[in-house]
Symmetry: C2
Subunit: 188 residues, 2 copies
C-alpha cells in the first residue's frame, strides 16, 4: 500500500486541521513547519502566500466533504439522508475541539481576500443545494415536514448545524449537534 503523502499534501492537511482548531489568524507557517518537518521557506515554495494556502485548503476540504456526502445512499428515505448528513457533519469535528473549516473561515471572512470568500460561499452552496433536494424529497415521500421552500429549510438547517458545531465545542458537549436534527424532524 503506497499511502505516502507528498509534502504538499501534508501541508494542506495540517493547515486544514489547524484552521479548524484556531482559525486563519490563529496558526502560522511556523506551526506548519513543525508539524510537517520542513522549514517555513519550503512551505512558501509550495504556497507563496498564506492566502494561496487557505484557498487551496478550502478547495480540498470542499471536495473531501462533498465526496463523503455523495456516498449517502440515494435509496434512503429523506429522513434517513438528513440523519446521515448530520452524523457526518458531527464526525468532521475531530476530538471535539474542531469545527467545520468553512464555518470557521466564515467567522474570519473579513480578514480574508475575495477569492477565499467565493470559495467558502461555494462550500455552503454545495451543501445547501444537496440538503434542499433532500427536503424537497422528504416533502414528497412524507418522511419530512412539508416545507413551502425546501431551499429555505436547507439553509436554516445547515446554519443550525454550523451553530451547533460552535456550541458543542464551546460547552464540550457533543449532544448539541443531535438536538438540531431532532428539532427539524419533529417539525411541522
Amino acid at each position: 500500500m503506497e499511502t505516502t503523502k507528498t509534502v504538499r499534501e501534508q501541508i494542506i492537511d495540517h493547515a486544514i486541521t489547524l484552521m479548524m482548531l484556531r482559525g486563519y489568524n490563529g496558526f502560522s507557517y511556523r506551526d506548519l513547519s513543525e508539524l510537517v518537518g520542513v522549514k517555513t521557506s519550503s512551505i512558501h515554495y509550495y504556497f507563496p502566500s498564506k492566502d494561496d494556502l487557505v484557498l487551496e485548503a478550502v478547495h480540498a476540504y470542499t471536495q473531501e466533504v462533498q465526496g463523503a456526502v455523495q456516498t449517502i445512499d440515494a435509496a434512503l428515505p429523506a429522513e434517513g439522508k438528513l440523519a446521515k448528513f448530520a452524523k457526518m457533519f458531527g464526525r468532521t469535528l475531530g476530538e471535539g475541539d474542531q469545527i467545520c473549516l468553512c464555518g470557521m473561515l466564515a467567522a474570519d471572512i473579513e480578514t480574508l481576500p475575495e477569492p477565499v470568500r467565493l470559495a467558502v460561499q461555494g462550500f455552503f452552496k454545495a451543501n445547501e443545494n444537496w440538503l434542499a433536494e433532500v427536503f424537497a424529497e422528504g416533502g414528497r415521500d412524507g418522511t419530512l415536514p412539508t416545507s413551502a421552500k425546501p431551499e429555505q429549510a436547507a439553509r436554516a438547517f445547515f446554519a443550525a448545524l454550523q451553530g451547533a458545531g460552535l456550541t458543542s465545542r464551546l460547552f464540550r458537549a457533543k449532544g448539541r449537534l443531535e438536538e438540531v436534527e431532532a428539532s427539524f424532524k419533529l417539525s411541522k
Copy 2:
C-alpha cells in the same frame, strides 16, 4: 446631556466592534490606539493583558444584550417574542459586516483562556434560558409548535441564529436571518 464616555468605556466599545468584525486574533492594541486616540501603553494601563480586555468586553456585551432582551414585552404571545428576539439579534450585526461577539469568540475559543470560555458560555446560557421560557410558553398558549423539550428547541433555535449570522455576512444577504425564524414557526 452628559454623554461623554470615559477612555475605558471607549476602549471596550471599540474592542467589541473590532472583535465582532475580525475576531480576537484579528485586532491589536494598535488598532484600538488609533480608534480611541491614546497610546497602546495607556490601554495597557486599563487592561494589563489582552485577555483581561476580552473578558471585560464579554461581560459588557452580555449585559447590554440581556438588557435589550428584557425590554421585550412580557404580555406578547410567545410567537411575537420569538420574532422580536430574532429581529434584535439581526440588528446587532451593524452594517452587515459584524456577527455576534460571543458567536465570534466561540469560533476563537481554542486560543482563549478558560475564564473567557466560561463567560462566553454564560452568554449562551442566558439567551438559551430566556428562549426556553418562550418555547415553553408558546407550547401552552398554542402560538408555537409544542415541543417535548423547550430547552432543546431553544438551543437549536439560538444555534441556527448564530449560524445564520455567519452566512448572512458571508453572502452579504441579510435575509438569511429571517429564514431561520420562519423555519421554526411553520414547524411542528
